[in-house]
């Protein structure tokens, strides 16, 4: 394990923890962006250059931007406020995650490279070789992904059609708004 691996690992874990624990949603989003960027560098190290660029452009550049956009649109920056009806979820969730990690770690522990690393020829994960793979054996998958993206676009447009404006608010919702106001004050 090189120093790079170590530093990358630390950064990844730290940013992930930040993303799941920070109370301000924007800060959590930014931590996640950092996580994705570090992940991109890891991809570069693992000879997946094309994928790394895609990670930066699509994930960090489009998806997360969209997230932050929606957070700010919904004035939802203050997360996790008010009374938590399920206080036991935190410790239980942590426990479950820990067990999960341990089990998976145990399963992964014995896996090593199939061939000595020197012989592996990934051609750096450049677009050429990858493209040949995608438009060859993986063609159908690519076409399906295209259909999926199309469907997602249509769905997204339909979902955000202007709905019933001024609908009656439910009592819980009204109560929630009052709570929000109170905390805000």
């Amino acid at each position: 394990m090189s120093a790079f691996d170590l530093i990358a690992g630390v950064l990844l874990v730290a940013s992930a923890l930040a993303a799941v624990t920070l109370r301000n949603a924007v800060h959590a989003g930014l931590a996640l962006v950092g996580n994705f960027l570090v992940l991109a560098t890891v991809y570069f190290a693992l000879e997946a250059q094309f994928l790394g660029w895609i990670q930066i452009i699509v994930y960090a550049g489009a998806v997360m931007v969209l997230f932050l956009f929606v957070i700010m649109l919904l004035f939802d920056a203050r997360a996790d406020i008010g009374l938590d009806p399920l206080p036991w979820m935190r410790p239980v969730g942590a426990a479950l995650a820990a067990v999960f990690f341990l089990a998976l770690a145990y399963a992964f522990s014995g896996i090593g490279p199939e061939h000595p690393l020197a012989e592996i020829k990934l051609a750096g994960g450049l677009p050429g070789p990858l493209g040949r793979l995608l438009y060859g054996p993986w063609l159908y998958v690519v076409l399906l992904i295209a259909v999926l993206l199309f469907a997602a676009t249509v769905a997204a447009v339909v979902l955000v059609q202007p709905g019933v404006r001024g609908a009656r608010k439910k009592p819980q919702v009204a109560e929630r708004e009052r709570e929000l106001e109170e905390v805000g004050r």
Binding site: P85, L86, M89, V92, G93, L96, V99, F100, A103, L104, Y106, A107
Partner: protein, 608 residues
Amino acid sequence: MLLLLIILLPLLGFVFLGLFGKQLREPAPGVIASALAGLSFLLVLSGVLTGGGEWAIEDWLPGIPFGLVLDPLSGYMGLVVTGIGFLIHVYAIGYMHGDEGFSRFFAYLNFFIAMMMTLVLAGSYPVMFIGWEGVGLASFLLIGFWYTEKVNADSARKAFITNRIGDLGFLLGMALLYSLFGTLSIGELREAIETSTVLPLALGTAGLLLFVGAVGKSAQVPLMVWLPDAMAGPTPVSALIHAATMVTAGVYLIARSSFLYANLQDVSYVIAVIGILTAAYGALSALGQWDIKKIVAYSTISQLGYMFLAVGVGAYWIALFHVMTHAFYKALLFMASGSVIHALGGEQDVRKMGGLKKYLPRTHLHGLVGALSLAGFPLLAGFWSKDAIITATLAYPFGGTGFYLAGLAVALLTAVYAMRWYVLVFLGEYKGSGQPHEAPPVMTVPNDVLAVGAVFAGFLALPEPLWNLIEPYLAPALAHVEVHHMSLALEWGLIALSAVVALAGLYLGYLAFTRWALPKWYLTFQTWSANAFYVDRVYNALIVNPLKELALVLALFDGFLDTAYIALAGVSGWLGNRLARLQTGYVRTYGALMVLGLVAVLVWGVLR
């Protein structure tokens, strides 16, 4: 088809009156029911005159056909049942006037006629058993007709349960016969038994078991306890069911199975002994009764004993002869008692009667004729049939002098209590407090017909050398028995003796209950007799109460079982409740549960 109609018409009456009777006004239900009964009578008559017939549904039960047969025996019995039944239906229109269960009563009466005819016309034992149970049910419904009184409901239950004990014997006998011969059709069984040279040993048991059934239905000792209590029902019921027809079903069963009993000497002996015991018990108990209907009821028990004595010695046709004459005079006695009760507005205690001769002249005539016929007054119907039985004990193969003397003694007692009944009700001074008025014609006319029968029916079968119409008519349907005919002089001498005994008894009774002061020992005897010799108390102590205790204990266990089941059900309810808590509605709990599942599968996969 005709045979089926005989049963179906009254059954139709039952259904129709049961469903719609409430909407008909009096006396419509009674008229309809009587008409249907009368129609049945006419159908039986026409069937008899045209030579009988058969009708069957093959393979009704596996291997057993549902068969009806009209042969001399069933025709004879059928005429008695439907004829007397019709007269009593008409009488009941008057007797049950004003009762709010008027239509229900006639529905039940019609049901009874239908079931009795099923019993009579049966061509195989299972069909007869259907009728057997059916009349038991009708008896239950009718005894407990005024069911709002606890006494009546209890009496009905007592009758049904005691009958049931006998029915068990009937069922076991049927099962045994089926296992021995593979058939339960009476014709086939008769052929099998009469043509076989060696009879299976178990046949005696089968015969005995069938007789147990007869003991229950015909109120013989030891199952006679239900008959006096059955007087809780309306008088027409007592007349029809518990005098003329249902209780004679046992006699009919034995006569039908005569081919069986003619070969079973020991079983026949047992039958005769029980018969004479019952006759004696009935007569002795009748002497002390104070209820007008109970006197007649115990008299019925006694006369039924005579009939069983007759079948026991092998004189099947004589028993049936007595069935007919008894039907006439006993129904007459019951209906006259009914007229008296109706006249006095419900009074049944003879100590509050007396001197009714001048208030109820027609009924008085009926009562006199009935009592005389019962006692065996010479030349009346009862005289001929009872005498035939008594003489038969000497002439028929399974008889003996012991039976003869006992029969004669009981005949004397019969005359005494018959006279007692008449004297206490009609002679002397009226001791009651009501205003006696004569019954309406709808009640007296049927009684007139019965009185004629009670006088003249005996002339159908007279001893040698006079004519006998019944014996040859019934002979094809009954087993042939070797009769040891006595000389004419002996026969007529014995007849004269019976006549003397009857007259002596009547005179004795007259003197004892009008003139004499009764001695101490007799009064003690009378108390014993009035309580029917405490048989009920003995049965209660030995059988009924222990069973009741057992039932209570078992009910306790039942309670435990119930609690256990409810607890078990409660567990599932509790479980459901707890599981319902999982449906919190929070997405995150569902997510957590999914993750839990995921982790569980992963761990399991990793550990494998």
